[in-house]
Symmetry: none
Subunit: 87 residues, 3 copies
């Protein structure tokens, strides 16, 4: 009977371990948003340097585009949270 | 008989563990959309700096293209959800 | 006899576990489509900024090219679904 309890406990821990590993791995997705949004920021800075009077429009375009690039990072965040607390 | 129950339980847990690991790994796909959408945002900001009066058309093209680039990120999200709660 | 059943069950679980791991790994393919389609979207936005009146033709070309770039992402999605529910 003790064996039964012990094994059940071991099984639960084993599965939890992989949830946490999965949550960590999911966050690797953030690499993409980091690089992409940085490229966008760089191009926007370049564009402002070329056309300073279009600063407002360039800023709006950069922020809109970066917002879209953020989404997969948010998906990864959601999956990590689900893995840790829901799954 | 107890052994049988224990082993069945261990097996089930074992499989669940890899589902969670798989869900985390799937999210790595988000790297691509993050980089690609950021490049699109950068090019759009650049284009607005060059032709501020074409802002609307440039924004539409950027959002349309980013929407397509988002798809594989969404596929990964769907697979992760399926792995965690359905498979 | 019990041992035989137990071992067969363990083997089946072992295989299932790796199916789910494989499904997650397959989705990593989406990185490529994400980056590539984003580059296409960026170049299209750039082209619209240069020739706003050619917007329709530029959009068609972008979507056609992105459709081709999408294929490997869809292959990965199909393989992941097959691994989870059919294989």
């Amino acid at each position: 009977m003790l064996d039964l309890i012990l094994t059940a406990e071991f099984n639960a821990s084993y599965v939890d371990a992989f949830k946490y590993l999965g949550a960590g791995i999911a966050m690797i997705a953030g690499i993409g948003a980091g690089i992409g949004q940085g490229i966008a920021a760089g191009k926007a800075a370049e564009a402002v340097g070329r056309q300073p009077e279009a600063e407002g429009k360039i800023r709006n375009m950069m922020l809109l585009g970066q917002g879209v690039a953020e989404t997969t990072g948010i998906y990864a965040f959601v999956i990590a949270i689900l893995l840790m607390f829901v799954a």
